[in-house]
């Protein structure tokens, strides 16, 4: 390499120890890559990072960088100490949407790596916390070139700023026996319906979709998304009694009682004298614990669908919020079902776009206006599955009690007739 390498005594300490070192990786780009541009960028980056370690401060600032036609998907970074670390003075990240489920062939990874090497720093992460491939570090000019190249072979930018963000879905039906929904299809149906809202930020704040195939919620969707779609079932769970007895035989009754029976949150399980299992399915809440312990014997039922929760988010600004159940159960069997899901998402985003304050997440709006107003806004009826308990305060006007009670009975009668 042409220039002298920055001295990095603090970062060098991160090359010690058994876990793979990102510093060693950046140094390889500095010392061994055949492209001077990449050598220089890596050297500058290491220099600036060492400066951060020494002074305990960050030195990147944001700005406005975009590709032609979009307003989102790039995280612009300009160095505040560019005079000392010139070759990484522009160090933008491109957020690129991964294939749903994060699958790649090694061929595709190589192709992405080759494109990135041509235009970027050679540093990449699979994936960032929002679910994007993070191509870390390129100049303003090369941002467009890199995007043009990967866009030609099927990759598109993700969201950044006040827009619909890149979605996430678990491995699900592709490799997991607990999957209760076609996670990839939900993910792609929703995200690709809102492509315009991903690329052109025009919402009050960010809006995230996440899809988990069961209540284990491996995508952390209840807390980390505005619109969580989680697979579940409403008929009886399946018990392979022979496999269960075999498990009890192998592990013992005390183990079975301590780790399965008494861990059921609704006391819905009972170990019979012959080591078979009784399940009170009416009171099973599909928590997944017993299925996790004995996947060979216990499985989800056949009448599968999804539960939808809305309004999860982290601290800023009013404190952490979990999502709230808005749709206790919804079938996703045919195209009409998927259309209904998309329409619901459109309804929610439209209502929030119109009623949310600037920088207010959907969940914060629900907190501000109350769940009932939100439900009326999106055209969903109240349901006791939406609450943990009924109100404890009597400070409320109930003039229309009789009308509301009648609605409930009418709805019940309708449901009875339909079934």
């Amino acid at each position: 390499m042409a220039k002298k390498a920055h001295v990095t005594p603090m970062l060098d300490e991160l090359e010690n120890g058994p876990w793979p070192s990102f510093i060693s990786g950046i140094k390889r780009l500095r010392d061994e890559h055949q492209d001077d541009r990449i050598n220089g960028m890596a050297n500058s980056l290491l220099g600036q990072l060492e400066h951060s370690y020494e002074t305990r401060k960050g030195y990147w600032k944001g700005g406005t960088v975009s590709v032609y036609g979009y307003g989102s998907g790039i995280i612009p970074r300009f160095s505040e100490v560019a005079h000392a670390f010139e070759e990484s003075k522009e160090f933008h990240t491109l957020r690129v949407q991964p294939p749903a489920g994060n699958y790649y062939t090694t061929d595709m990874l190589r192709q992405l790596g080759d494109s990135w090497e041509k235009y970027g720093s050679g540093l990449v992460t699979f994936h960032g916390q929002t679910g994007n491939i993070m191509f870390i570090g390129t100049s303003t000019e090369n941002t467009q070139h890199f995007f043009n190249e990967i866009n030609e072979y099927g990759f598109d930018l993700g969201g950044a700023g006040p827009c619909v963000r890149t979605g996430m879905s678990c491995v699900g039906a592709a490799r997991c026996e607990q999957s209760c929904v076609d996670e990839m299809k939900v993910h792609r149906t929703l995200l690709n319906n809102f492509t315009d809202d991903v690329h052109r930020p025009a919402l009050p704040y960010k809006f995230k979709f996440k899809v988990s195939g069961c209540g284990n919620d491996c995508m952390n969707s209840i807390e980390r998304s505005d619109f969580a779609i989680i697979g579940t079932w409403r008929d009886d769970m399946k018990v392979d009694q022979e496999a269960f007895k075999e498990y009890v035989g192998k592990k013992g009754r005390q183990h079975t009682i301590d780790n399965i029976i008494t861990r059921c949150p609704t006391n819905a399980l009972s170990l019979n004298d012959d080591d078979s299992l009784s399940v009170d399915n009416r009171n099973c809440v599909r928590c997944m614990h017993c299925l996790n312990v004995v996947p060979k014997a216990l499985s989800p039922g056949d009448d599968k669908g999804v539960t939808i929760l809305m309004g999860g988010k982290r601290t800023l600004k009013i404190g952490d919020l979990m999502g709230t159940v808005i749709v206790p159960f919804m079938k996703l069997d045919n195209e009409e079902d998927y259309e209904a899901l998309t329409e619901l998402a459109e309804e929610v985003i439209d209502y929030w776009a119109e009623n949310g304050l600037e920088h207010e997440r959907c969940g914060e709006m629900v907190e501000r206006i109350g769940l009932v107003n939100f439900l009326e806004g999106i055209g969903v009826e109240v349901d006791p599955n939406m609450i943990a308990e009924t109100r404890t305060s009597s400070y409320v006007r109930m003039d229309d009690w009789d009308i509301e009670a009648k609605k409930w009975f009418d709805r019940k009668a309708e449901q009875k007739q339909a079934s």
């Binding site: 603090m10 970062l11 300490e13 058994p18 876990w19 793979p20 990102f22 990786g25 390889r28 780009l29 061994e32 990072l49 951060s52 370690y53 002074t55 305990r56 401060k57 960050g58 590709v67 032609y68 949407q97 991964p98 294939p99 749903a100 994060n102 699958y103 062939t105 061929d107 595709m108 190589r110 540093l123 990449v124 916390q129 870390i136 866009n151 099927g154 990759f155 598109d156 996430m168 491995v171 039906a173 997991c176 076609d182 990839m184 993910h187 792609r188 690709n192 991903v198 209840i222 807390e223 980390r224 301590d258 780790n259 599909r286 928590c287 982290r314 601290t315 800023l316 404190g319 920088h359």
Partner: protein, 357 residues
């Protein structure tokens, strides 16, 4: 349209099927059960009897193209050319041929990658951007994760914990790292230092005022220039004003500290999902190895490992033994700062005679 500009193809999220292992494609939605042959390896069996083996490995996450190609080479030589990445950025290789598992593990370990992270292990620490790329970080992310994983590597490779442990880090109080069984997050302890010369040029003042969760910021004229002032008695030092207005410098080499939170859990298994709760603070932001934070994390892990029952997540364990015993066992101080005073805080107080003696 400008001359020479290319119109983007708005293809959105690509179809995963085209990159999926053929055995997974074939058995999509038709898996019967899974087994755990050894740490870092999963075996899934479909209803028809076909099986797929997964080998999971931890990496440095910030991958240089050389490392990326090395991972691909291993995939071509020892696996079947199909990979995926987990939510915690581990790489997974899928093979239909079980005899490929051991050579694949050997190849990964030879190149320094770490096979593990399944079942009741300490999973890969979830990771934010930090000083490497964020515009508002109070600390680094990759360095903290590297330092801690060096110390926790045996827990990643083994099945020694009562249940899985998810550790997260966040470089500011926005907490991109999310909820974790153990979370190591920035906690600022002093109000922002304002560069009044820059506020008027850089900041949209009303939106900065609106951003403050405790209404401690108001417009002011300072040295004849429009700027902002902070009521320092009201200020909770959260740093929310800093992203929209960088002259409100919140990061401080001395007073930006780390705090540790426990019991965050996203799963619905057994109990409902839970938020993480504060257990330790005032921890120095001590680059490059953050030994003080790591020591507390290890102490909590050790205590959990020795005391929790099988399948108890950290939150389940604390719920069973109670907070007084948690502080006793971990030897961490309990202070007035552990008592919540944010909205709805009284719900977090003990309104019963349920006390353990």
């Amino acid at each position: 349209m400008m001359q020479g500009q290319r119109t983007p193809i708005e293809s959105g999220c690509p179809d995963g099927f085209q990159y999926m292992h053929p055995t997974m494609r074939k058995n999509y939605g038709n898996w019967a059960y899974h087994e755990d042959p050894r740490p870092g390896v999963l075996k899934h069996t479909a209803h028809g009897g076909e099986a797929i083996y997964t080998v999971r490995a931890g990496t440095q996450r910030i991958l240089d193209v050389f490392t990326l190609r090395k991972l691909c080479d291993i995939g071509d030589e020892f696996a079947e050319g199909y990979v995926r990445f987990t939510i915690r950025s581990n790489i997974e290789y899928m093979v239909a041929d079980g005899s490929k598992v051991e050579p694949l593990i050997a190849a990964l370990e030879k190149e320094g990658f770490v096979v593990g992270g399944t079942k009741n292990s300490v999973a890969m620490i979830s990771h934010t951007q930090g000083w490497l790329h964020c515009d508002i970080p109070g600390t680094d992310a990759s360095g903290v994760v590297k330092s801690m994983m060096d110390e926790l590597i045996d827990e990643f490779k083994g099945w020694n914990m009562p249940n899985r442990v998810h550790i997260t880090t966040s470089c500011c109080q926005i907490n991109c790292g999310g909820q974790g069984d153990i979370a190591i997050n920035i906690q600022h302890t002093k109000p922002p230092k304002i560069n009044h010369d820059l506020v008027a040029n850089i900041c949209e003042r009303p939106s900065v005022v609106a951003r403050c969760p405790v209404a401690a910021i108001r417009p002011a004229l300072v040295n004849g220039k429009p700027s902002l002032e902070v009521d320092e008695k009201k200020c909770i030092c959260c740093g929310a004003c800093y992203p929209p207005c960088t002259p409100m410098q919140i990061n401080d080499p001395e007073h930006t500290k780390l705090a540790i939170w426990v019991g965050g859990n996203h799963s619905n298994a057994r109990g409902k999902p839970t938020f993480q709760k504060l257990v330790a603070a005032g921890i120095p932001n001590n680059a490059p190895r953050w030994p003080e934070a790591t020591a507390i994390v290890k102490k909590i892990l050790q205590t959990y490992k020795e005391n929790a029952r099988d399948w108890e997540r950290l939150s389940d364990w604390i719920e069973r033994i109670g907070w007084p015993q948690f502080f006793e066992l971990t030897e961490l101080p309990f202070t007035k700062f552990h008592v919540d005073n944010w909205r709805g805080a009284r719900n977090s107080l003990n309104a019963s005679t349920h006390i353990r003696f």
